[in-house]
């Protein structure tokens, strides 16, 4: 399998990472090298093997639906690029 340049650009868009033509070309070669490594998996017969999502077979713990944290909005927003009146500012999305 090898990725086309258009596929590289499409994945970059899905991942919301801007990519120029030159960078896409260099990335294409590197990704194809990585996929060549990954392709070794395809020769393995895994019929009937249950996928292992996690190192421990655990069910998620439940807890009471109760407030456990205090409101620290100011501290958390102090690290934001741009806020105003307790809100995060982003470019206008609704005209």
């Amino acid at each position: 399998m090898s990725l086309t340049l258009d596929q590289v650009k499409r994945i970059a868009h899905l991942a919301r990472i801007e990519i120029g033509d030159e960078e896409a070309l260099a990335t294409q070669g590197q990704l194809n090298g990585i996929f060549q490594l990954i392709e070794q998996m395809q020769a393995v017969d895994t019929a009937g093997i249950e996928p292992m999502a996690h190192a421990q077979d655990l069910s998620q713990r439940l807890r009471a639906d109760a407030v456990s944290e205090e409101n620290r909005r100011a501290a958390f927003q102090a690290v934001a690029p741009e806020t105003e009146a307790g809100l995060y500012l982003v470019p206008k999305v609704i005209e």
Partner: protein
């Protein structure tokens, strides 16, 4: 401030945690004095090694003074007042926490990771600062840090390994008595091996991931990096434990990981996976590993051949699973709530695209792209599910092997520390330096690296792999080995 004064009871930079603890309790030394000693070394030596990305003398000395007050009041534990280096992946309130990325260059954490709360808040250890690392823990050489490569104290033109390379270099250069690390595919064990240290990746779920910046959540695990198994056991005692804030933290009773350190090794069955002793490992590394096998035999262990027939698939499966999880985890960096935002942009989508393009480094972007692809429609079954099925096969191999042995032994990495720049242009070559460590993460098992000799003047790391929750057993084997050898006490020349 002068270096070790006459009233220091010993060579403090080479003292074990136990010795430091005793000296502090006996008031032969104060935490402020110890902390100052290491901060002065950092000031003097860090410019050539680049192990620390953030040091805050005032904050460290304040914590040291608080530890001294606890000791004076008789309210202290075995680690109170001992300085440590924190990998810059752990959020520490009021400390810049960068994860090696431009994305978080100016991020001052508003809260403590559980590991930080336990080690500093509860145990009373003193942070000397935050250590350099591969960006978002993605790398095996520390060359992927936005803050520049870390130099290996054993040879300054070589890498310290990664991703916990800053922690490894800091301890190897005696800039800190011990450090925290994290290990997703080998990031504690491989740098420990390359810097002549002892490091332990616990069973998945033993150390809380809360406040540890996520890379691949089903694999990430924090652990200690120090100069001996005993030091690692003592740090793990304070790091481990159930945490309701981590949904995959295991509810188990607390253990003393140092309890079996001195247990004799007579009768120990050590499994040697034939796949780890096949071609692909440097001769010098293999010779040191073989010497270690003979040493363990002298201590009463017997060797048995075992097989991990799917271990050659661990690197391919890892490079599907870890990037898939990373692409999801790193979607949070959008330039809105925290982290880097591009200075110029058009609409909201453009702001995301530019912030992420400028904020992430090349390797992080590559892994996000691989992850986005393997999770995308039409490829999920062929890649992601296939990788998870192979993950099961790999885990089953270990289960079968542990029917015949108590611990598994092999090299930690196929080579000693390579030269800076040697592998940085070929991602796949770099990935293969984790060929012996990755399977352990996929299976969720505990694994250790410890020094077992030198090849061409560079440290070689032995790897020990245990069954689930066999940390105390691994530490026991490592400690007995270290009682009989002195590889772990060697120190790089020129770093006085």
């Amino acid at each position: 401030m002068a270096e070790p004064g006459p009233r220091f009871p010993m060579n403090m930079i080479n003292a074990s945690l136990k010795e430091l603890s005793q000296a502090l309790a006996a008031k032969q030394v104060s935490s402020v004095e110890l902390t100052t000693l290491f901060l002065d070394r950092i000031d003097r030596l860090n410019p050539q090694i680049n192990a620390f990305v953030t040091v805050d003398r005032e904050k460290s000395l304040k914590a040291a003074a608080a530890a001294d007050a606890r000791i004076a009041a008789g309210q202290f534990g075995p680690l109170t007042g001992i300085p440590l280096a924190q990998k810059d992946i752990f959020c520490a309130e009021g400390w810049r926490t960068t994860c090696g990325s431009k994305m978080l260059e100016n991020f001052v954490a508003p809260y403590d990771a559980t590991v930080v709360r336990k080690l500093e808040g509860e145990a009373g250890m003193v942070s000397l600062g935050k250590t350099n690392m591969d960006e978002f823990a993605m790398g095996s050489s520390n060359e992927n840090s936005y803050f520049g490569a870390v130099k290996n104290p054993w040879a300054l033109d070589r890498v310290p390994g990664g991703s916990s390379g800053g922690s490894a270099a800091a301890v190897a250069a005696r800039l800190a008595p011990i450090a925290t690390g994290t290990d997703t595919g080998g990031s504690i064990r491989q740098p420990a091996a390359m810097c002549g240290l002892t490091g332990l990746k616990p069973t998945y779920g033993v150390v809380s991931r809360y406040g540890m910046i996520a890379y691949a959540s089903s694999l990430d695990q924090g652990g200690p990096m120090g100069r001996s198994a005993e030091d690692c056991a003592l740090l793990l005692n304070a790091m481990a434990g159930f945490d309701e804030r981590d949904s995959t933290s295991l509810e188990r009773p607390a253990e003393d990981y140092a309890r079996d350190l001195d247990k004799p090794l007579a009768g120990l069955r050590v499994g040697l996976p034939k796949e780890f002793f096949a071609a692909g490992c440097d001769a010098g590394v293999m010779a040191a590993v073989q010497d270690a096998i003979r040493e363990l035999e002298k201590l009463g262990a017997t060797m048995v051949e075992v097989s991990l027939p799917n271990s050659h698939l661990s690197v391919p499966a890892y490079y599907v699973i870890a990037p898939a999880e990373a692409s999801s985890n790193l979607s949070r960096y959008d330039g809105v709530r925290y982290g880097y935002r591009a200075p110029e942009y058009g609409n909201l989508d453009d702001m995301y695209m530019k912030s992420r393009a400028q904020g992430f480094g090349a390797e992080v972007k590559r892994r996000i792209l691989v992850g986005a692809y393997v999770l995308s429609h039409g490829y999920y079954d062929a890649y992601y599910l296939q990788a998870q099925r192979i993950r099961r096969l790999i885990a089953n191999d270990f289960v079968a092997a542990f029917n015949d042995c108590d611990v598994i032994l092999g090299p930690t990495a196929p080579s000693t520390a390579f030269r800076i720049g040697e592998k940085s242009s070929d991602p796949v070559q770099m990935y293969l330096s984790d060929i012996y460590t990755i399977a352990v993460n996929l299976a969720g098992l505990p694994g250790m690296a410890l020094p077992c000799g030198f090849a061409d003047g560079l440290p070689v790391g032995l790897q020990l792999i245990g069954n689930y929750f066999a940390e105390a057993r691994l530490l026991n084997v490592a400690h007995r080995f270290q009682q009989a050898t002195d590889w772990h006490t060697q120190q790089p020349e020129g770093i006085a």
